[in-house]
Each structure stands twice: as C-alpha cells, then as structure tokens.
Amino acid sequence: MNIMVMNCGSSSLKYKILSMPDEMEMAGGEAQRVGPKTTEPARIIHRVWGKETTHFTDMADHGEAFREVMNLLKETPELEPDALGHRVVHGGNRFKKETLVDKAKIETLEEISDLAPLHNPPAVSLLKACNRMYPQLPQSAVFDTSFHSTMPEYAYTYALPGSLREGQGIRKYGFHGTSHQFVVEEAARLMNRPMEEMNAVSCHLGSGGASLCAVKDGRSVDNTMGYSPLQGLMMSTRSGDLDPAVVLRLMALHNGDAKAVEKKLNKQSGVLGMSGVSSDIRDVFSLREKKGTDQIKNTASLYLWRIRKYLGAYLTAVGNADAVIFTDTIGETMPLVRQIVCSDMDVFGIRLDAKKNETAELPADLAADDSPVRVFAIRTNEELAIARRTYNLVINLRKGVKA
C-alpha cells in the first residue's frame, strides 16, 4: 500500500510516498512558495528514488499544489497513493488520536482552527481539496497534540479562572507529539522493553521548533509547549517562556496591537532575536567557538540552560527514567548540546560516554556502561510515523474495525 504523507506549512507542502508495511520511501518533495506570487517563482522539488527534479508552476493554494504534485506522481504509475496521511498540528480537545477524516470531521477541524491560527487552516484547506479531488482515497489526520492527550489534569491545567479553562479551552495541549512518540517507541525497541513500560524524557530539538516531553509508562505526561508552540524552550525565532507581564508590557508598547506582539514573539525572538545574527543555534555555537560577543555567548548559554532546567524538571516528574532521548536536527547532530545538557547529571542517574557521544552512528546509546539512565540519539521520522498510523487506520477500515 502506498501512503502519501503530507505536511503543510503556511506557504509550502512537503510530501513523501512510502510503501507500507515495508516502510520504504519511494518519492518525496516539497512544493514551495504556495499562495500569492512572490519575487521568486513557485516550484516543486520532486524526488523519485533519490533522483531530484524541479518543476516551476504557480500554485494559488495548497489544493492546487496537491493537484500539481499528483500530476507529477502520475508520471510514475507505481507511485500513485492508495491513502493520504496529513500532519495536522492541533487536534484540540476533539481529536485525541489519529483519525480517518470525512466531511464532518473536516468541519470539526475548521471549528477549532483558531487554536492554531497559523498552522491548522492550510492543513484543513488541503484536506478539503483532497476530499474533493480524490474522494475515493482514504485520508487520515495525525495530530501533533494527540500523543499528549494522556497528560494528567494537574499537568495541563493553567491556574486561570474556570471560565477560561472550560469555556475557552485554554489549557496546555503540547506539540511535536508524533516525533516524541516515534523516538520513545524506537528507544523502547532498542532497549527491548514494551512501550507501555517506558519512562523517558524525549528532547525534540529542531533547528526551528523544540520541545521536551515527559513520558511515563509509554504515555506523555507533560510537554514544554503549551496552549501554543510558543511556551517552553527558547527556539529559533520563538521566545519560549516569558513572564505574562512582559507580554502585557509589549502589548502596551504596541498600543494594544496583539498581532504585532505575536509576530515579535513568534518570528523575531528566540535565537534570532537574542543573537541578532542567525535563527540557527548551530551558527551561534560556531560563532561562540570563535570568541563570540557577549550577545552570542548569552544566546548559547540561555538555549542550553533552558533545556537543562526542563530536563531536570521532567526527570523529577517521571521519577524513574529509563532513558533520555535526543532527536531532530540539533538533538541528532550536535554532540556539544547533548554533552553540556547531560553534564554533572549524576543525581538523575545520567552518565554520558564522551567518546560515544562524539562518534556513534545513529541510532545510538550514548550513555556510559554504568549509567542507570540510557541516553539515546535517535533520528526522528514523523512522516514514517504518520504513514504507520495511516496504514493501521486503513487496514482496520478494510477489516471493518471501528476506529
């Protein structure tokens, strides 16, 4: 069965075709500059069996981008998908796990779009277009939030009045769930343990977004991101945790313009805002090595400090961790980050093997032999995780098993 996995950005559409259940990646690519015309032409970078080609075509919206991609796939008949799997950032309280979507569910997703105003609308618009163009293809929605639906009430509750918590759905949702679940499952496999018995802290450190997840008995019990992806660690352009009073002062500075503050905190803060030179923490570390300015040094140390503090908090919450897992671009490729975050953490049972940390090939256990807690670096693969879930949903559909 060919599963096409799609990941919508605000002006892009990334896709992969995976053959399931053998989990072989056959094709993939990215439609770029989807939407209104920009200074550079819109294009699709298309990859089949590793061979890359670029196609220039205007794509007014994600539906058109999808149509163009499908046209490209038709050139290689064996690539045509049997099912579609969509990454949807926010499932709110309504979607606690992945689901096959129909018109009614798309409508429900539309109703909760304001929970993720930047991320959900393009995904919903794509779901609609796919449903219209290929009604015969089963489509799934896999949510970043669903792994965190097991968070206990005391962890997801903000100390706010009931009218906001219950009336407006203001609570912690958590994100990056697909990735966290994937790498914890991989760690469980490497440790020969059932997922239901895994206690771990997963550190998804992307070059853009980043979050930590506390996992107890294979279930997410906390995530550093909150109601939105802004809370938690400092990220490439997001500030991470802030005193709410700071947000209010910024609002007053901008004459109550919440959109301007939202832009400042989501797009102009974090590593970019602090360093003033780059949104990529790798650039900051590299500049620091060359005797960077105080601004560069402060950016690097704040980035690491926040991870370390949250790691300690979650290891304490989990209580009896089996593993700490590093993943995504920074977590997988920056031994320095892992080394600093894990240094002098004996009190938590963490002892990193410096040599393994520098040289081991992923996936790898980087902990010293006598370390009670294992430390893994595992390559995340959200597309594969989405394909696996979509495959299971479709198989169950064919068997007549109710989701």
Partner: protein
C-alpha cells in the same frame, strides 16, 4: 532598637513596629485601599500620621529608632540593604521605569519620613537584592537584548530576604556536613506569591519568578507560568486590553481561579475540601517541577528549606515532595534535610536593617 517597618504594596501599606531586643512586632497592621504615589500625598500624609500616632501611643511617646522601607523591586542597583541618603534616593529615581508604581511610592514615603521624623535613620531593603548576582542565562529572556534592556525585561526573584535568611539557617544547622559554597539548597518561600530559589552555597542559581512575581508558581490570585500566547489570545478573542488582562492574571487567577474561592495555601493543602483538590494537585506538581529544575541547575540537592507564612502547608508539601520517587531515590545515596525557617519577614527586615545601620553609622546606635 525599635524599628518602624513600612512595606508598601500596590493596594495596601503594611506596617510593623518591631523591637529587635524582644524579637517581635510590638504592633503591626495594614492599611487597605492605599494609593502611594506622588499624586496622592494627602493619602500618604493621612495614612502615615495615623501609623505614627499608633506607634507613639504604644512606645510611650518616643519616636522609632529607625525606619526600614521594604520594596519588592530594587533592580540591579540595590544589591544589599542601603541607608537612605541623597545618593540612594537618586538611584531609586533611576528605577522608576522598571517599577513605575512601587518606586514613586517609596520616594513619597521617604519624603514624608524626612519631613516628619527628621534625623531618624532609614534603610531601604529589597526582595530582589539577593538575586542581582543571577547569571545571564537565568535572568535573560529569549528576546532582542536592546528591547529587553530598554524595558528592563529580565528575570529576578522577589523573596530574596526570605531565601537569604533560609540559606543561612540551613548552613547554621548543617555546618558540619556542608562546606559553605557547596551546599545545594532548594529554598521554597510560601507567601501569597510563592517562589522557589535554588541556591549553591549562598549564591542563587535559579528563581521561579520573572520580571514580576506573576511568572513561576501560581499564587493566591496570580496565574504563575502560562503560555505567553494566552494574553494575546485573550486580546484577540475577547477584545480585552492589557489592563483588563493584567487584572485577570493577577487578581482572579491562581488558587482563586482554580477553586472559585478566596483560599490560601494552608486551606488548599490541609482542608481536604473537594473544591481544593485540583488546586492542590496543580500546585504540588508545579513545585515538583521547580524542584527538578533547581536540582538540575545545582547538579544535586542537600537540603530543602521552607519559609513564609504558610508553614502548615509547607509541612504537607514537603512530605508530598519527599514521597516522590525522585527524592526517595536521591535520598538513598545522600541525605536530604528539610528545614522550616519560621522567622517572619518583619524579623528578617529588622535584623538586616539594624546591622546595616550599625555598619554605616560613625557612632554606635546602641551600646
């Protein structure tokens, strides 16, 4: 020495007439609905004249030996208790942008005291002083540094006097086992706006508070840590302005928001009321996370010390924390002591003010 302690808040003025020889307040009180700014001089005059009258009645007509003025926010400029003089008043004025409500109030009180109690020495004490040595990684936010500097947006602690006193308390009791400079203390201050500090030796490593005490642990009516986007969502969805949102987050949230009732920490932790259950669980968990961050920051922990006015709650919270798997395991390899520092804030203020005045007077105040 008898010290008049003045603690102006946003809406009230707490006062205490403290005897250092008897180690207790001879009298104390609180003026509600108090506005303390240069525009409200009449209110300050009325209030202070009333307070002084009571003090004189209780003190057989003699004026206080000294006045201690306590403020939460002293910025980076007040690193220790400071006698009031022209230079320190100038420094106070420089702090106005960072605390536009509090500092003018303190200045107005100083004006009043100088006019009405001339020659009585005054000392300024701030809850932030202990935290002026916080490292940049702890006190900075992930914001543009020029913006943060211009708006004084950086993190601090606000119960520094409690934490400093608590750490001394721990070191006095653990001096055999702990060499100064290496003791790893989690200091938990249970006041209506609670705060945790992780202190290595005598140096704070982390604080749960932020630019204001709103960040961090939820309080009686304050929200504590929330997603920063929530304030923006309230503006977008409800059409609220910053003042309305501020009122909600500072006066209608925290324990009040969770229970719907004006409860304090003792009631939440001890009453067993069903309506308090969620608040208790949320608080316990937040304290546990804060402890974990502190342990990571110090690479270990030797002691947990509680201070503040809710000691009964502290007893329950400490038992809960120590029963967590992490502390059970950590306690197997190294003893973790729990202490309760019951010294009230007035006692700490009076002690520090007295020492400061003695150190700064050419002639000894007391023989």
């Amino acid at each position: 020495m008898k010290i008049l302690i003045l603690k102006p808040g946003s809406y009230s003025l707490n006062f205490s007439f403290y005897s250092t020889s008897k180690n207790r307040s001879l009298l104390k009180g609180k003026i509600e609905n108090y506005r303390c700014s240069n525009n409200d001089r009449m209110t300050i005059y009325d209030t202070m004249e009333g307070i002084l009258r009571i003090c004189l009645e209780q003190n057989r007509g003699s004026i206080p030996d000294a006045i201690a003025l306590y403020g939460r926010y002293g910025g980076e400029l007040f690193t220790e208790p400071t006698p009031v003089d022209e230079e320190s008043i100038e420094r106070l004025r420089d702090l106005i942008p960072g605390a536009p409500l509090q500092i003018p109030g303190l200045l107005a009180l100083i004006d009043w005291c100088r006019e009405n109690l001339p020659g009585t020495p005054m000392v300024l004490l701030f809850g932030t002083s202990f935290f002026t040595s916080l490292s940049p990684r702890e006190k900075l936010y992930g914001l543009n540094p020029e913006l943060a500097e211009s708006m004084k947006l950086q993190r601090s602690g606000f119960h520094g006097l409690f934490h400093e006193d608590s750490v001394k308390y721990v070191l006095r009791r653990r001096k055999k086992e702990l060499r100064e400079g290496t003791a790893k203390t989690l200091s938990i201050c249970l006041e209506p706006r609670p705060e945790l500090a992780a202190v290595l030796g005598k140096v704070p490593q982390i604080t749960t508070s932020g630019t204001t005490p709103l960040e961090g642990l939820p309080g009686h009516t304050t929200c504590g840590e929330i997603d920063p986007s929530i304030a923006l969502v309230l503006s977008r969805k409800m059409g609220w302005g910053p003042e309305q949102i501020d009122a909600l987050l500072t006066r209608e949230s925290g324990l009040y928001g969770l229970t719907g009732d004006r409860v304090d920490f003792d009631r939440v932790f001890l009453s067993g009321e069903e309506d308090c259950l969620l608040a208790r669980e949320v608080l316990q968990y937040r304290f546990l996370l804060a402890c974990g961050s502190g342990v990571a920051a110090m690479s270990g922990v030797n002691a947990i010390v509680f201070s503040g006015r809710y000691m009964a709650a502290a007893g329950v919270l400490s038992q809960w924390l120590l029963s967590r798997e992490f502390f059970q395991r950590a306690g197997e390899t190294r003893e973790i002591d729990v202490f309760y520092n019951t010294t009230p804030l007035e006692g700490i203020i009076a002690g520090k003010a007295g020492v400061t005045l003695l150190e700064n007077q050419p002639e000894p105040l007391l023989v």
